[in-house]
Structure formats: C-alpha cells, structure tokens
C-alpha cells in the first residue's frame, strides 16, 4: 500500500482508525462525557481531510472505486454525519451518560457510516453486500439503544427483521445476476447483460433490496415504526445518510451497470416513483407524531429523487447528487429541532408545537427554514433541488410525471405548512417552555441555517457537481 492507495481509501481508512481509537479511549476514560468532544473533533478532522483533491481510481482489482463525484457525495455525507453527531450530544448526555454508554453510540454510528462509505465506493457485488450489511447491523443496535423504551426495542427488532428479509432478497438477486452473467464485477456485468427472464428477476430483487434502504413503496413499511421508536439521532441518520448513499449506488447500478436494460428499469422507476410520492404524502397528511411525519415525508422525497433519475444522463446525476446534499441538510435541520424539543420537554406531537415561535423563536426559525426547504419554497436550497429534478425529468419529455410531482409537492406543502402553522400562528395554554440548547446543537443548527440559504443562492456548487457528473 502506498500513498496513492491510501488517498483513494482515505475516508474508509481514517474512519476505521477513529473507530479503533474510540474503542481504546473508551476503555481508559472514566468521565464518559469527555468522549463527546473527542469523537466529534476526530470526526471533524476526518471531514476536513475529505476535502483534499482526489483522482479517480480503483483498488483490489476494481472492487473498490473512488472518483471526484463519489468524493463530493462522501463529503456531503460527512458533513451530514458531523451535524448529526453534533445534534446528538444533548441526547447522549441526557439518556446515555447515566448508563455510561457514550462511546458505543459513536462507535456504532461510525461503523454503520463506514459501511455506507464502502457501499457508495463499491465496484463489486460482494463489496456492495458487505457495505450494506455493515451499514445496517450497527443501526439496528442503535435503534434499540434506548433500553428503557419499549418502542425503541420494537424499532430495533423491526429494523433487523426487515433488513434481514431485504438483504436476503438482495443477495438472491445478486446470485441470479451472477448466474446469468458469470461475474460479480460491475464492469464485466455491464458487458454481459442479457434480457433473459432470470436477469430481469435478479434486477427486480436487487431493486427491492435497495427499495428497502431508500424506503420506496411497497418496501417502506418499516420506516414509520422505526423512525418513531428509534432515538431521534438514529432516525435522523437513517433518513438522510443511509438513504442518500443507497440512492447513489442504485443510480450507479442503473445508469452504468444495467444501462442496456434501461427499457426495463425506466418503467419500474417511473411507476415506483409515482406510487411512492403519492403514498408517502397520503400517509404524511394524517400524522400527528412528528417523527412518523418525518418518516413519511422522507418516503415521499425518495419518490422525487427517483423521478430525477428518469433522464439517465449527466443532468440526472447532477440533480440527484445535488438534491441528496440539500436533502441531507434540510432533514437534519427538521430532525434536529424535533429532537431538541423532544429531549427538553418530552413532546413529540404536532399540536404540542402550538405557540413554539413565542417561546423559542430561533429554533422555530430553523424549523421553518428546514421545512420550507423540504417543501421547495424559493429561494431556499430545497427549491433548487426540486427544480433541477423536475428539469432533469422534463428534459427527456417526462412531462406527466413532472406534473404529478408538482401536484405532490403541493400536497407536501400543505402538511409542512401544518407544522409551521402550529409553531408560528397558533397559540397555546402551555406551549413548549423556553429551553437553552447546548453549543453542539447550536453549531449544528447554525450550520443548517447557513447551508439552507447559501446552497440555494450560491450556484457554483451545482455547476461544480455538474462538471464531475460524468459516469
């Protein structure tokens, strides 16, 4: 191993080192509270490291690939995980410190994230499968982390059972593809695809496996229960990082590996996109619990992303990566506020937020920015994210789905506005009392607010992704 290979795998290697370091420190440190800054500073350094320039390349005979585009995605996810850990500190201190279970939280979270990194860099189905398992198993443990909460245990069980089923099906699909093409390398599969029924079956099973990760309808049912039961930082992680990485690799598979079968997966994406948008929105309309609400909102957002992939050209890649980056920030903002409120006051229902603006104006503003961005209100970042997804689909003449997408965006706007109405317009006898969040949370929320405004106004970011989006 030389410097170049280290550079290609720097994310994975450094993160592994951090995890090992944390394991060691955890043994020797008595005051577990100190682990918070240690883990966060280590991760922040690692995040900065990710911004070093990078050449495309592959390792292990093509099992592991990295490119500037993948690097951009990893950096976006790094920042996302950094924000999540920042906002998680208050929860860790409140719930886990008394049990002295601080270190494990970071170790499990980072391990799962390590799996995501391998997943997005995979060039081989084995690597893909290993990455996905590594990404899922620690999260299941994290979902059940709040040991005194029955809902949390339930979430853990549901996640692990569903994940087992889905990864079984995914593995089955991969085996079938191996059967028909004789290889597990993405590059050689791309040259050997055929339109045999077996191949198609494999493709569908593969898609179902990803559908689980991305929570596409009808593979999304676990989402709401797990998001509601799991500790909020974990739901937050599941909704952005886990989803974002899986979408990216699904896009690579579809655009590069199964490019010749596009007449197969295009109608599949088309149909699933519409169903996912509609069903996600229909469910979200009824939710009163904000964590469940966010779950269904994230299901609907996944449908939008699928729509952007339909043109499968450079623009599709750009708009999807751009949207993922923005979606990460917006969702973290919304989840961060929900979590801060939940920990400070124990309230998770929409009606509890009546009069929120009066008591906690700054938090309410971040919540508003995040929800408006998710709804796609200009000039926030989310508007441009959605705008480019529509443009991408419309550029290949998919006007109908764009129309349905806009219809769905309207429905979504309605339920996002419900929350904002509660927080800003309604009054309450006993609103959520004023609380002071810790510095970690504040930094995270300030970052979110800046990113939501700047990503929308500062367009070179889009052009930059566009310049890298050649698959």
């Amino acid at each position: 191993m030389n410097w170049n290979t280290f550079f290609l795998m720097r994310h994975e290697i450094v993160l592994t080192l951090i995890i090992l370091l944390l394991l060691l420190i955890d043994v020797f440190v008595d005051d577990k509270k100190k682990l918070n800054p240690i883990a966060i500073i280590a991760f922040a350094v690692y995040t900065l490291l990710g911004f070093l320039p990078l050449e495309s390349g592959s390792l292990f005979g093509g099992m592991f690939v990295n490119s500037p585009l993948i690097n951009v995605l990893k950096n976006a996810m790094n920042i996302g995980v950094l924000m999540i850990t920042l906002s998680a500190v208050s929860w860790v201190n409140a719930k886990m410190l008394p049990l002295k279970k601080v270190g494990e939280f970071y170790i499990l979270l980072f391990s799962s994230y390590l799996g995501m990194l391998f997943l997005v860099s995979s060039g081989h189905f084995l690597m893909l499968y290993l990455g996905m398992e590594l990404a899922t198993l620690p999260v299941a443990a994290l979902a059940a982390y709040d040991i005194f909460s029955r809902k949390s245990s339930e979430a853990g069980i549901k996640l692990i059972l569903n994940a087992a089923l889905s990864s079984g099906i995914l593995l089955f699909g991969a085996s079938i593809i191996y059967m028909t093409t004789g290889s597990l390398y993405f590059s050689s599969i791309a040259n050997n695809v055929s339109n045999s029924y077996l191949m198609i079956l494999g493709l569908i099973m593969l898609f179902a496996g990803f559908g689980f990760k991305i929570s596409l309808v009808p593979f999304h049912f676990w989402t709401a229960d797990v998001y509601e039961g799991a500790p909020t930082p974990v739901s937050n992680y599941l909704s952005v990082i886990s989803k974002g990485g899986a979408i990216f690799i699904l896009m690579i598979l579809a655009f590069v590996v199964f490019n010749q079968l596009n007449y197969l997966w295009l109608p599949l994406f088309y149909g699933i996109s519409i169903v996912t948008m509609f069903l996600g929105n229909f469910f979200a309309l009824r939710q009163k619990n904000l964590q469940r609400f966010m779950a269904f909102s994230s299901v609907a957002q996944a449908g939008f992303i699928l729509m952007g992939m339909l043109s499968f050209d450079q623009m599709a890649v750009t708009s999807v990566v751009y949207f993922i980056a923005i979606y990460i920030v917006s969702n973290i903002g919304a989840f961060g506020v929900i979590q801060a409120v939940g920990i400070a006051s124990g309230k998770w229902e929409m009606d509890d937020y009546n009069g929120f603006y009066r008591t906690n104006p700054k938090m309410a503003l971040v919540l508003m920015l995040a929800l408006f961005s998710l709804a796609g209100i200009p000039p926030l970042a989310g508007f441009f994210g959605k705008f480019f997804l529509y443009t991408s689909a419309a550029s290949q003449g998919y006007y109908w789905i764009v129309f349905l997408g806009i219809l769905n965006a309207t429905i979504a706007l309605y339920y996002y506005l419900l929350v904002i109405r509660s927080a800003f317009l309604r009054t309450s006898e006993n609103p959520i009392p004023y609380f002071k969040s810790d510095w970690y949370m504040r930094i995270s929320m300030i970052l979110v607010a800046i990113a939501l405004i700047m990503l929308g106004l500062y367009s070179p970011f889009y052009s930059y992704i566009n310049s890298l989006s050649i698959l």
Partner: protein, 641 residues
C-alpha cells in the same frame, strides 16, 4: 486588473441593513444613524474610486473608446450556453456615472436624517431601510443583465414601499405606499413581459450581448413580427412601460405625488434623485437596441411620452400648494426632459448629443433636486407644515436653507453658470439639431414654466408675507445644513464636468459647440419666468388670485391634477371590479374552489383509507415486501410477453 473589490459596493450596504435590521431594538439613536452614515460613506468612497478608475485608468480601449467592463460575473442559474442568469458587476460610462450619483445622495441623506429623524419612532428601522434601498439601487445600476436588473428593480420598489409607508400608523402614508407599490408593480408587469420576449427571441439576458451590433443585426434579420414591428421592438416598448412606471411618466405618474407622504429625506433620495431615474437609466442601458431596432420606433415612443409628461407635470406644478408636491411634479417634469432627450438622440459621435444631454441632466438634476427636497425638509422641520400658506418670510430665520434653496432654484431654472443651465441647454440643442421642432417647442416652453413655478415656490416660502408663527422658526442643526452645503457646492460645480468626453452613447468622446441662439433664448425665457414670479409672489398681493379667476376652469383642472386619480378610480372600481372581477370571483368561488375542495377532501379520504396498511406488524410488512417483489416480477412477465 482585479476589480473584485467592487463587490464591496454592494456588500457594505446590505451588511449595514442586516446589522441594523436584526438589532433594531438594540441599537439606539443616534448610533444607528452614525453606523449608516459611516457605512454609506465608505461605500461612496469606494464607488468614487471605482468611477475614477473606470473613467481615467481602465475604461478606454486602445482607440480611446469606453468599453463595457465586467468587474465580476458568475453564472447563477444556467439554462443554455447563451441563456443564463448571471450575477455580476458591469462598469460602463453610465453605471460609473451612477456610482457617483447614488452613493453621494445616499450619503448626504443619511447624514441629514440623523438630524431630521431625531426623536422619530423607529429611528434604527429608518436607517436599515435606507441601507437596503442603497444596496438595491446600486445593484440596479451595476447589473450585468436584464434579469439581475429586474430583481434589483423590484427590491428598489420594495424599499421604496417600506419607506413611503414609514409612518405606518398614519393612514394616508399606508395608502400612498400601497398605491406606489401597486402602480409600479403594474408597470413592472410590462417590464417582465419584455424581458421574457427578449430572452425567448434573443436567447440572452446579457447587456453586453444585447447592445452589440452583431446581436442587433441578427434580430433585424429575424422575421418574427407583430403588427408591422419586430418582436424586439414590442419588447422594448413593454420594457419602457416598466421604466415609465418607476420614472412616473404619464399615465403611470399617479403614485409619485402621494409618495411624498414618506419622510422628506426619503423623498429626496428615492423620489427625486435616484429611484425615479431608474426608467431613464433602463432606456439608456438598452439604448443601442432602442435606437437601431426598426429605425427607432420604440425610441419615438420614449420621446413623446417624455415630452407629454414634462408639459403635463409642469402645468400641474403651477397650482399646487403642498411644497413637496410642487417638487414632485417638478421631478416628473424634469424626468420627462431626460426621456425626451434620449428619445431624440442619435447614436454616433455628435449625433448622440441627446443621450449625453440626458445623462448630464440626470446627474445635475439629482444634485439640485435632492438639494431642493432637503431644503424643503429643513423648512418643514422648522414650520411643521407642508403648505405654502403656513410659510413666508423665512429668509430671515433660515439663512443657510435660504441660500442653498435659491441656488437650487436658479439651477433648475437654467440660469448660468449653475449645473441645470448646462444640461438643460444640451437637451434644447439636441431636440433642435434633430429637427424635432414640436418637442423643442415643448421643452422650451417648459423651461419657462419651470422657472416660474420654482420661483413661485421660492418666493412663497422665503418672501411673501410672514404668517403668524406659533414659535419662531430657526435654522436647522448642523447634520441638516452640512448636506445642504455639500449639495449646493455640487450644484455650483457639476455643470462644468465634461460629460461629452465621458458619457456618450457609443463611448467615443465628441466636441460640443456653444449655440448662442439657444443659450440666449433659454436664459431669456427663464428670466421671464422668474420675472413673472417676482412680480406676482415677492410681496403678498392679489395678482395671483386674479390670475386664478381668469383661468377659471383650466386652473381647477390643473389644481386637481387633471383628475387622473379619479380616472383611475373610475376604471378600477367601476369597470374592472364590476365588469371583470365579479364574474371571475364567482367562477373562482364556485368552480375553482369547488374543484380544489373536492381534490382536498378526496386526498384526505384516500389518506384515511390507506392508513390501515400500516398495521405495525412485522409479518404484514414482510408479506407486503415479498408480494411487492412478486407483483412487479409478474407485471414485467406479463408486459414482456
């Protein structure tokens, strides 16, 4: 040369706005005024430096022709290789000239307001708005493309709205701010349509491309036409509607007199010197396009609208008693001058005299009209009234205000060697040498009328007889008199700026000749106007009452501003509301809302029905999962067979 420092011209005012706006309850008087004045002062110094750099160091190419320089440019939203929305800073003679005008007036107004707004509620809010306005106006003049100028154009409208309605618990101010916003927005609709036409047919927003000969000849070749004129010409007329709205040209002028409800410094800054000339600036910005498309049809429209407005406003200014309204109509009249000067102008060399004259007049007018307004503010501050009836004999009490006001009045009347004389003279010459005799006649007549009504105003304020003052008026504090003196100095000297070698239509310098016939005639009619005013208003007498009686009906029409407001009211309330809005409202309530409610209820109903799927049982989920896979597989099986 790296010009990225020019970004500071925009960054400093917007930061000032944010700092003052976000801390408006924390920063107390007078600190917000000091912060605002210092910040705008720094902006002004950077702007002067930029303008100096442009005119004397980097602006000219090898042939001595002024070029368009993109100090900064970045793509903001990308559509195609030629059509993209940029954000940037464009330097050319007119934007560099505006870099002198806007920050100067804004700076003076900021300093002035420290004294004028003393003890007014919302002191900090006022300065925050002033910074926002300065930012928007500078963005407007520095814009590199049509879309960017439109964004800043609207922001200027918003800050104007906020400042007119500054006394928000005064109903007339609120009404005036709404009126200004709605009328200009209505005009901006034309502007937006024009932009969309240009971008659709011309495939670009960029000013550099839009004014290039290659683009113009390409558009001339393109056959797309409507009613005998090319689409671009129609677009230019639509864009001019937007400009006419902002610049208060007939018939979109009705908001300007009401806008005087705002604090007087605001009237000086926005409704006299800067924002209202945005329409002139816009036409000048697209001047090559106006001049060359279809032989300048759109430019003729500009000329005639300008000529009509200048006469119309001058007549109304005769009969008004509110001193700020007199000044407002005078502003409208002077902007009409600038418009008609552009309208008669040619393009190459000396032919472009009208363009140069218009820009020259814009510059000098900004100085002396701001001075007049600030002087009026100082007077209002002293006597607590806007009406001439409550004034008189003030020259004894307010010597500085008196002298500066007199200088400005002489300047606007066109008395040499003050600024207004030079620029007005060039306009007269321009309309004469382009053989637009009717326009020349109007311009000439209005020159006399201007002298008359300005000196009517001057004598009624400073001479006439003294009414009974409740307490003796006294000279304003230093924060008010210093800006007056600075602007008076500008009024004295700015006529000597060699505009013909700096700001010209094609960027080339040319020589101007003195037209002694025009000079003698114009000074003659101005003196005549002043003479009449002296006879009628220097001492209280019955002459003016007799004149009023003699003109009878005509006076009444003028006093009521030719009933334009009533015409608008009739059209909107009687015709549009009854004839158009009612049926639409019915359709909206019964058909559109009905359908929407149906969709909404339907969505809720479906949402209620599908809820049952989410049972919470893992085995159900697994079943859905597997059946999903099977269903998709079967669907494909079926489709592929």
């Amino acid at each position: 040369m790296d010009l990225s420092f020019t970004a500071l011209i925009l960054i400093i005012p917007i930061l000032t706005f944010l700092v003052l706006g976000l801390n408006y309850s924390r920063i107390k008087e007078p600190w917000s005024g000091i912060i605002g004045s210092v910040a705008i002062g720094i902006t002004a110094l950077i702007s002067y430096y930029t303008a100096y750099l442009y005119f004397f160091e980097i602006g000219k190419d090898a042939d001595g022709v002024y070029q368009k320089i993109y100090a900064m440019n970045m793509v903001w939203v990308y559509f195609t290789d030629t059509l993209h929305i940029d954000m940037g800073i464009l330097l050319d003679p007119i934007s560099a000239m505006m870099l002198v005008v806007v920050p100067t007036i804004s700076w003076m107004v900021n300093i002035y307001s420290i004294g004028y707004m003393h003890k007014e509620g919302g002191f900090t809010r006022f300065f925050a708005y002033l910074s926002l306005f300065t930012f928007s106006m500078l963005g407007l003049v520095l814009a590199t493309n049509l879309f960017m100028i439109y964004i800043f154009w609207e922001m200027v409208g918003v800050s104007s709205y906020l400042l007119i309605g500054y006394y928000y618990n005064k109903p007339s101010a609120v009404l005036a701010s709404k009126k200004a916003f709605i009328v200009t927005r209505f005009a901006d609709f034309g502007f937006l349509l024009g932009i969309l036409f240009v971008s659709y047919y011309g495939k670009t927003f960029d000013f550099g491309v839009l004014s290039s000969q290659a683009f113009i000849s390409e558009m001339q070749m393109q056959g797309t036409a409507f009613m005998g004129l090319s689409v671009i010409t129609w677009a230019l007329i639509l864009i001019f509607i937007g400009g006419a709205g902002k610049s208060a040209m007939f018939p979109l002028h009705i908001w300007l007199p009401d806008a005087m409800e705002g604090p007087t410094p605001v009237s000086a800054l926005i409704h006299a010197a800067t924002m209202v000339v945005a329409g002139v600036f816009l036409v000048a910005r697209l001047f090559p396009l106006y001049f060359f498309m279809d032989g300048g049809v759109a430019l003729d429209v500009v000329a005639w609208v300008g000529a009509f407005s200048t006469l119309f406003a001058a007549i109304i200014a005769f009969s008004q008693y509110d001193i700020k309204r007199v000044l407002a109509f005078s502003t409208m009249s002077q902007i009409g001058y600038m418009m008609l000067a552009l309208g008669v102008s040619g393009y190459d060399g000396h032919e472009g005299l009208g363009f140069m004259a218009s820009m020259f007049h814009l510059f000098t007018h900004a100085m002396f009209k701001a001075l007049l307004f600030l002087g009026a503010g100082s007077i209002i501050h002293a006597v607590h009234s806007n009406y001439m009836q409550d004034m008189g004999g003030l020259r004894k009490y307010m010597p500085i205000t008196h002298i500066t006001f007199l200088i400005a009045a002489l300047a606007i009347s066109g008395i040499p060697p003050l600024a207004g004389f030079f620029s007005k003279d060039e306009i007269l010459v321009a309309s004469l040498i382009h053989q637009k005799y009717l326009i020349f006649g109007v311009t000439y007549a209005v020159a006399g009328m201007t002298a008359f009504y300005m000196f009517r105003l001057y004598y009624r304020i400073f001479w006439w007889n003294e009414p009974h003052y409740h307490h003796t008026p006294h000279e304003a504090p230093k924060t008010i008199t210093i800006p007056l003196l600075v602007l008076a100095t500008m009024t004295l000297i700015s006529g000597f700026i060699p505009f013909h070698s700096l700001v010209t239509a094609d960027g080339k310098a040319f020589h101007t000749h003195l037209h002694w016939d025009v000079i003698i005639a114009s000074v003659g009619i101005a003196s005549l106007g002043i003479g009449f005013a002296t006879i009628m208003y220097k001492k209280q007498n019955m002459l003016s009452t007799r004149f009023r009686a003699a003109f009878g009906l005509f006076y009444k029409w003028s006093f009521n501003k030719f009933y334009m407001d009533e015409v608008y009211m009739f059209v909107t309330k009687k015709i549009i509301f009854n004839g158009v809005s009612r049926p639409f409202a019915w359709f909206d309530r019964h058909v559109v809302d009905g359908a929407m409610n149906g969709v909404g209820n339907g969505t809720m109903w479906i949402s209620d029905k599908v809820k049952g799927l989410q049972s919470g049982k893992v085995q159900d989920y697994a079943m859905y999962f597997v059946s999903g896979v099977v269903f998709i597989a079967m669907l494909f099986w079926y489709l592929l067979n």
